[in-house]
């Protein structure tokens, strides 16, 4: 086992100080690594708002900063603290694994609480340290107290405040939720809280795949009512973060879940006319966003999904019922007319200095050709409606940006 350069006493000194801070404020909800120069700044800021409050440390300790349940750890001590925490944790884990069977109950509980204490310290400093998460899982799986699991959710939330992309931390959260739902029940309020957590983390950590994946994962635990509620609730956030493709994917996940519910019977069934309405609303709303925020790839990709599904699911089902093909389907014809209008207005580039307009033209042109790639019968309708000149214009827009890809499209 590697040892830091400090003496044993120093090592425990720093780590004990850390444990002391954590124990003295069990409600810490945010942690971060800060440069020592920021300590003075934080003290000043804090002094303005809390003039009567004494500082928790007498000024000689510049290792930790803790006010209003926010914890700052000095970057000067990180390496040493992390090495020490790992060393002590791995030693405790080894003891737990080798002596666990030979001890009496109170001894086991002692070792367990050591492992929990030191794994917490390690994870606050190094969130991807999988073995420390595993040790916690091992001990938690023996408990039947709900409070232990909710406390674990709190800890992993705290760690995410500093490491929002940490995959093992998100994965551990899912493990806790699975345990709760297996042993107790799937509490809807946990799902709601999780959803909120992802949104607030998504606010600070943009396009965070792991966070949004977690929210998508929650969908399978949701009843149809909650799915609708989530769809409604995430709309405002999405409109304020139009480049965040992950949020739009979350909406796609919810919308596909609604489609699934159209095909079932029972308490989770959903009316097709209502689903159709949701789809039309999303298409209209997406059009508004596309026109307001020019050149945003995430919005155009969302439109691909919406249009393809609308034609395939809502319009084509009508077609099969009436025995008509897509091409003679009046609803589809009107839909394509509207899309061509959108294409035309999007392809006007008023100012070539701004890349956004060129991007808008490219995304619109590619979007228009992407639909018939998925529904080949649309080719003829599109050719007729666009005419040779406009089609040339669409192709040359793509040729400017993606000449090699266009060669393939033309060959098709």
């Amino acid at each position: 086992m590697e040892q830091g350069s400090s003496s044993e006493e120093d090592c425990f000194g720093l780590l004990n100080q850390f444990h002391h801070v954590l124990q003295s404020d069990p409600l810490i909800d945010e942690v971060g690594f800060i440069h020592p120069s920021q300590f003075t700044l934080l003290d000043k800021e804090d002094g303005l708002s809390n003039q009567n409050k004494p500082l928790p440390y007498n000024g000689t300790s510049r290792n930790f900063w803790n006010q209003d349940h926010k914890l700052g750890i000095s970057t000067d001590i990180l390496i040493q603290l992390c090495k020490d925490a790992k060393h002590v944790f791995l030693a405790a884990l080894e003891e737990y694994k080798s002596h666990g069977n030979a001890c009496n109950e109170s001894q086991i509980m002692n070792i367990e609480s050591e492992v929990m204490k030191h794994s917490q310290a390690v994870l606050l400093l190094s969130s991807d340290f999988g073995t420390a998460w595993n040790a916690r899982k091992l001990i938690l799986s023996k408990t039947d107290q709900l409070s232990a699991f909710t406390e674990e959710l709190r800890l992993s939330g705290l760690i995410l405040s500093n490491s929002p992309k940490s995959e093992p931390t998100w994965s551990h959260r899912r493990w806790i939720i699975k345990m709760i739902s297996r042993r107790f029940s799937t509490p809807q309020e946990i799902i709601t809280k999780e959803s909120k957590l992802v949104e607030s983390i998504g606010e600070r950590s943009k396009m965070n795949y792991r966070a949004w994946y977690h929210r998508c994962w929650l969908v399978s635990y949701m009843a149809i009512g909650q799915v609708l509620h989530e769809l409604n609730k995430s709309k405002r956030w999405a409109a304020l973060h139009v480049t965040d493709s992950s949020c739009f994917h979350y909406r796609r996940r919810l919308m596909l879940r609604i489609l699934e519910s159209v095909n079932v019977k029972g308490s989770n069934a959903y009316d097709k006319t209502e689903a159709h309405k949701i789809w039309m609303e999303e298409l209209d709303w997406n059009k508004e966003l596309v026109e307001r925020y020019v050149g945003r790839e995430a919005l155009w990709l969302h439109r691909r999904f919406l249009s393809l599904n609308w034609i395939m699911y809502f319009a084509c089902n009508h077609s099969s019922e009436t025995g008509l093909s897509i091409i003679t389907n009046e609803e589809v014809a009107i839909f394509i007319d509207n899309e061509i209008h959108l294409l035309e207005s999007s392809m006007i580039v008023p100012d070539t200095k701004f890349e956004d307009f060129q991007a808008q033209a490219l995304y619109a042109a590619v979007y228009m050709l992407w639909l018939p790639k998925n529904i080949p019968e649309l080719w003829r309708m599109l050719e007729e409606k666009l005419g040779t000149e406009k089609l040339k214009c669409v192709l040359s827009t793509i040729a400017q940006e993606r000449p090699l890809f266009l060669q393939h499209l033309v060959n098709v």
Binding site: S126, G130, T131, C216, S245, H249, F305, N309, F405
Partner: protein
């Protein structure tokens, strides 16, 4: 690529990258190296494969590496990211790949490693990463790649494994980590790689997926991994290898991508970063060199897009008994 344009864009400073990798192993005093300690096995795979692609694997002590790897193996057959840590399928593949680089697969108890990997397959065909059960298509790829190297694919239900991967396909042609999860170039590599290794590429909509993948190339020539994200050298591997496996690599501008990767080099101290002028690391150094290998850059050995190992190593695996 014409010789004049490659002169203009600068060269691969291969010797400096070799030195950077050899030095990185010795430097252990940064916070980054302390928090990366638990995945040393992955780091070793990235560094050693890069060295092999640059034909410099001989500069490291094979015995030292191999004996360290073996101390990371658990009773279960799985490998940990470092000594004293828990086993995980992520590190098991890296361990097997490194042993393959050194032509040392024979020192493994193949049956034991294979049982560990096969034991992680679930009823629906998916794979967990370890005994704690998180499921991800990354683990499907890892299992299939690992067992392909060990030639023990018959230990798992390949048909179900393939069906599960296909169930993670999205309407945009891409793949996510579980059914319904967002498409991501890294996950796409895993899914396409696993399908390639099991002879199931016909289950991919190549034109549609190729469409999504080639849209990852931005004006700088670099590739991103998802819409609206900045380009990053690591996607030179994930996107490019996928495009090659589905035979659509001619849809992107390869010359511009070569230039982007070369621009991410630290010309003084070696190493490659995610984007020009950022700090270098071993992960991006590997993906940069591997990307150049796929782009047939002179002086870099060819890499196999599915196994993520040099082609000569893969040939040795396939043609030995």
């Amino acid at each position: 690529m014409s010789s004049t344009s490659s002169n203009q864009m600068g060269q691969l400073v291969a010797d400096k990258h070799v030195r950077y990798i050899l030095m990185a192993e010795k430097k252990k005093e940064s916070f980054e190296s302390v928090v990366m300690d638990h995945l040393r096995m992955n780091g070793a795979y990235w560094g050693l494969t890069t060295l092999d692609l640059l034909d410099k694997l001989g500069t490291v002590s094979e015995d030292e590496v191999v004996s360290w790897i073996m101390t990371c193996q658990h009773e279960s057959g799985g490998f940990a990211g470092n000594v004293g840590h828990d086993p995980h399928i992520l590190y098991t593949l890296s361990a097997v790949q490194i042993l393959a680089l050194f032509d040392k697969i024979n020192i493994l108890d193949v049956g034991k490693v294979s049982s560990y990997v096969a034991g992680l397959q679930n009823k629906d065909g998916s794979f967990s990463g370890d005994m704690w059960g998180e499921i991800d298509t990354r683990f499907s790829y890892i299992a299939i790649c690992c067992l392909s190297i060990l030639k023990t694919l018959d230990k798992i239900n390949v048909e179900k494994a393939v069906d599960y991967i296909v169930s993670c396909k999205n309407l945009d042609g891409g793949f996510g980590c579980t059914p319904g999860a967002e498409s991501h170039a890294g996950q796409i590599f895993c899914c396409v790689g696993a399908l390639a290794l099991t002879g199931s590429l016909h289950r991919v909509d190549k034109d549609l997926l190729g469409w999504w993948l080639c849209e990852r190339q931005g004006k700088s020539g670099g590739l991103n991994g998802r819409p609206e994200k900045l380009p990053d050298v690591c996607y030179s591997w994930w996107v490019l290898s996928s495009l090659i496996m589905i035979d659509r690599v001619h849809w992107i501008d390869k010359e511009k991508l070569v230039k982007f990767i070369l621009d991410c080099q630290d010309l003084d101290n070696g190493g490659i970063s995610d984007r020009p002028d950022d700090a270098v690391d071993i992960f991006h150094t590997y993906f940069g060199v591997a990307g150049l290998s796929l782009l047939e850059y002179p002086g870099v050995k060819a890499i196999d897009p599915a196994y993520a190992l040099p082609v000569d190593v893969v040939n040795r695996i396939i043609f030995t008994k």
